[in-house]
Structures are given as C-alpha cells and as structure tokens.
Symmetry: C2
Subunit: 358 residues, 2 copies
C-alpha cells in the first residue's frame, strides 16, 4: 500500500462520543415528547459525533459523481450502449441530468470526475474545471468475465485519485459530501464487488440494472459467477477485490469516501454502485462507517443486504434505481433538518412549556 | 348538511387524466432508464393530474396546524398536562417549535388555527394575524368516555371553519398545502375516529401517543372501546363519527383538506391525527383521495392501516411520532423534486443521449 493511502486511512478518527452525548442531552430538553422525531434525532447525534460538536448548518454540499467504463459491457449486461457513459458525463457538465436538477433543488454542487471513461475527456468537460476533474486511470476496465478489471496498482491509483478529488475540492468549502456514479454496466461490477465482500451468491445480489428482463438478469447472474470464478478475488483484501472485478469509478468513490472520513466530514452514500465503493472503504478502515449515511434504499436487488452488511439504515426508500447520486442528494434536506432541529428548537425551559411525566 | 359544506364537496373534481398521461409520456423521454426515479415520477404524475397540466415549481407552501383540546385528557391518556396545547400554540406563534424549524427549512409558512383550545385565544396569538386564526368552535370537546365529543352542528362547524381557513389564506398564494395538529390527548380521539371508519378494533389502532408504557396503553385501548360503546358512532356518517368521538382540530383539518381539494391543490397529510381528518374528508367525498399525498408513516400504531384503508403510500418513514405537520413538511422537498425532474431534465433528443433497447 502506498504512503498516500496509508496516511489517509490513519487520519480517520473515531467519532466524538462526548459530542454525541451532548447532542442526546439537548434533544431530551426540546419541546416535544422524548425523541419524537425518530431518525432525525439519530442523524443529528451522528452529525455531532462526526463534527465533534453540535453544528447548526450544512452550508456547502458537494456531490461527486465518479464516471468510468466497464469492459463487461460487451457482454450485453446493460440495455444502453457504452457511449452513454460519455454522453451522460456531458449531460452532467451541461447541468441537464437528474442529479443536476436534484442538486440545484437541494442547494448542492455537482462535481464530475472521470476515473476511467473510454476515450479522452471531451473538450466540453475540460472547459468546466469547476465541475469536472480528469482523474482517468485508464480508458475502461477489462472484461471481468475474461480476466481482471485492472491491475492492483491501478486499483490503488483509482482510490488515491478519489482522495485527491476530495482534497482539491475541499478548499472551495465542504460541510457534507455525497457520492454518485455513472458507468454503463457498473451494476455488474458492483454486484461482483459486493458478492466478494459479503460472500453472498450473485443470485441474491445482482439486479435488473437499467431494466433487464428476467432472462437477461439470469445471464447477468451467470456472468458475475464466471467473473468471480475467473478472477478469484481475495475477500479479505479490498484492493484485490477492486482490481479483480471492480471499476475505476468504484475505486474513485471509495477514495472520495475515505477522504471525507479522514477530513472529518459526513458522507452520504447513494445506491448500489456507491455502496460497493463504501464497502471497500469500510473494509480498508472500519472506522469509516461512523461517517456514513445511507441516502436511500435502491431498487437494485442486493442493495438492502449490502447496507445491512455495513450496518447502515437507509434514510429514504423511494423505489429509485438511477444512481448519479440522486438518492444521496435527496437525503441531504433530511440530514439538514435533523441538524436544525437540534439547534433551532426551544427547550421546555426557554419556551415555558410543561414537561411530561414519562 | 349546510350549503357551504355541500358546495365545497361538489367543487371537488376528478384528476385530469389527460394531464397525467402527458406527464407519463414526458417521463419516458427523460435521459435515464425508464422510470428510474420510482416514487418521484408517480408524485409528478399525480401533481400533473391535480394541477391539470405539468407544473415546474411549487412556490407557496402552507402548513396549517389545527389545535384543539380534548375532554378525554382527564382520563390520563397523555403524559403531558392539557395546558401544553396552549403552550405549544404559543410556541408555534413564536416560531420555536419543531414545525417552525422544519417549515423554515423547506421554505413553507406555518398557519395555526384554534378550532377548540381550552380558554380564550392568547393576546400573543391575536397579535399575529398572519400566523394565527381564531376558529374556535368551543373550548375543548366533551370527554368521549362519558358522552359525545361535540354536537353534530359543532362537527359540521369545525369542518366549515377549516374550509374558511383555506379560503382566507388562499389569497396570499398557495401552490401546495400540508396538514398539522396540536392537541393533548388527540391520538385517543383520532384512534376512535379511525376505528369507527375502518371497523378495526382499538387494539390494532391505538398507539403510545406521547410515550405511554404498555400498561397505560392498555388503559387507553380500554377507554377507546368504552368511548365507542358509549357513543356508537355511525361509521357510514362522517359527521356523526366526528361528533361522537372526534376533535375540533380533526374537523378543522378535514375542512382544510376539503378546501384544498375543492381548490385544486395538492394536500400533504401528516401523521395519525391528520390521517383521521383525511379519512373523514375522503368519507365525505371519495374524489378527495386524488389530491392527497401521505407525507410519512408515523410510529403511532394504527397509522399504516389507516393509510392502507385510504390506499395511500407514505413518502417517508423516519420513525417519527410528533405531529404538528412535521412529517408532511419534510415530504415537501421530495414532492418538489418530483415536479422539477419532470420539467428541468433534458430529453434523449435534446441531450443527444442514445436510447436503450429495453
């Protein structure tokens, strides 16, 4: 492991339990039945632990959408042609995709990073340095049915470039970050990563992705089984798993998460692909988990089990399966609401409201 | 039934199915796998049906918190003394309660209406006509364990005053409205209303309210059974149900919902108490249902069954049990997101993105 990665992992601190306790105490004093806002309180306590004190606002919100292509796309695991990865990156830069709409709505900015899109970055992308980062490790992974997705050195490089995105972006201000993804065929790679790390069989994890029918889903399951058999990822070695069956954007997302945790920021994990990245990050350093919020439960089959494996409870369940960071972005206002409840509500004493007997 | 109420019910139109179809068509063309944003799309279609066309923004958002007291409080069904209803109304007017914090967060305004709080309106309340409406029918209901909550004329009056709040407030601009409640012991009255309308027994509907332990919950179940036996509400007559075991704020919320539906506006229903009001509204005129969004699933025991009875699926599930409109308010940004997705995203053609084969 390179020094850059080791240093980042070492910088990830446990949450501040003292701040968590302070937050719980204040919650008890707020004018409502004890803990009547359920998850909002839990969110605010975790936020206090992450921020090492009670914070009242989350001003700068950043969604990093990692993009990459996948050699396994040639097996027909997606309904969409591979060129859609590039086209959608252009859509993100132009601000016309779902994640742009939702990011504007929740007051977040979108940053797209190319970790492994096929071909050179488009001139349009390079013309927007505030929205785009060229972090390409290689133009697409190998077809995992035939061999490894990438070398071990490339796997580590993808993660380090994700950390770099975090560090470079940080100077513009960040109070909370979210993950997102774009990459045709990346539910296949993510399912393979999740199977490796959980030991669960592809039938339980692989889902319909862009909308496969039952027959094509069966083919996808078979392909993932074959990819695991061909590459034999070492489940105890996250870098080996990423190299064997992962994707460059999955590595980049893992790095973005590690950077966030090392930097003491809350990280909202999006759906299936982001969760694969988060699982790699947690496998590299279990303390990462304290910094994570699961934005939503995706419709992609194995997502629930993957979240359970990490002990994360999704905030939203809106039957979404898009990625791009859309589920994470939609959870932002709820996390902010939790934080504001803790700081803006009056206490029984302040408001002259009678306490209960419970 | 008075003419005012009859007129309102007659003004409630079916949704515009043509607009719904238009919205679905546009959704198919947006640059993502078909319908990949799940509930957000369903929300945007329903909104199109309600607004009779595709709308791109919800500017004016109003949460009406109906307040009232309940004679059954003297039976000890709440952990809090009855004076807390008044105190919390003052908290709403001062802007220091949970619903104020969340309303500010989501860009909505809060309007408090006193439909039946004990005692006269506080001078503080009357000093804030933009935030408070005096719609008191009577200062608290009768104890439903001993007799009816109110007369049939009062039940109708509470509903009509809720409609009035809607009509008066409308001139200030409203694109979407939400319901909220405050009233010590009102989960008891609401459970009785829901039992009457669904035919389900109190054991399945009554919940812990402000935080009762198991023993006190058993007492509450017994009291509700007794209230139903003493008053024998006619389940086919919503006004009789409200008069027998309801509450003034439950009637007011019912009226606010009827006004919203008659006025062609989407209505977000909050938790247990608001759902009792919504069920009365739907019982009075089934077409109301098309205008309703269930903001969240409350922790209060019977809420899921009450929503199922109306065929409503909650948007959020955050283990909340506060009321005040908090769950409805938190759903507002998600409804707005659905609407914006439909209008702000590019189509495949506009963005030059390849279509899938699915």
């Amino acid at each position: 492991m390179t020094r850059a990665l080791k240093t980042c992992l070492k910088d990830i601190a446990p949450l501040d339990e003292h701040a968590v306790e302070k937050a719980k105490e204040r919650t008890r004093d707020l004018i409502m039945p004890a803990f009547a806002l359920g998850r909002l309180h839990e969110i605010s306590w975790q936020m206090a632990g992450i921020k090492r004190g009670i914070v009242g606002e989350l001003r700068d919100k950043v969604i990093m959408v990692g993009a990459g292509d996948h050699g396994v796309a040639e097996e027909g695991v997606s309904l969409y042609p591979q060129e859609v990865t590039r086209q959608m990156v252009s859509g993100f830069i132009r601000g016309v995709a779902a994640i742009n709409v939702i990011a504007r709505h929740v007051g977040a900015r979108v940053l797209v990073a190319d970790f492994g899109v096929k071909g050179d970055p488009d001139p349009l992308w390079l013309s927007a340095p505030d929205r785009f980062r060229n972090k390409k490790v290689a133009p697409g992974t190998g077809n995992i049915v035939q061999g490894p997705a990438m070398t071990r050195a490339q796997a580590e490089e993808a993660i380090i470039r994700g950390i770099e995105v975090f560090e470079e972006e940080r100077i513009r201000g960040m109070d909370i970050i979210a993950t997102g993804d774009m990459g045709i065929a990346n539910t296949t790679a993510s399912a393979a990563v999740i199977c490796s790390l959980t030991g669960l069989p592809p039938e339980e994890i692989a889902g319909k992705g862009t909308g496969l029918d039952e027959r094509r889903l069966q083919d996808k399951v078979t392909l993932i089984s074959r990819a695991l058999a061909v590459n034999r990822p070492d489940s105890t070695d996250p870098l080996d798993v990423l190299a064997a069956v992962g994707g460059f954007e999955i590595g980049g997302i893992c790095g973005w998460i590690l950077g966030g945790a090392a930097g003491g920021l809350p990280v909202i994990v999006d759906g299936f692909i982001s969760t694969a990245g988060a699982m790699l990050a947690v496998a590299l350093e279990p303390k990462v988990k304290g910094y994570l919020f699961a934005g939503h439960l995706s419709e992609e089959k194995g997502h629930r089990k993957a979240l359970e494996h990490m002990g994360l409870k999704p905030i939203l369940d809106l039957q979404m399966r898009l990625g791009e960071g859309t589920g994470a972005a939609l959870a932002m206002p709820l996390i902010e609401a939790g934080v504001k409840i803790l700081t803006q509500m009056a206490t029984f004493e302040e408001a002259g409201v009678s306490r209960g007997s419970g």
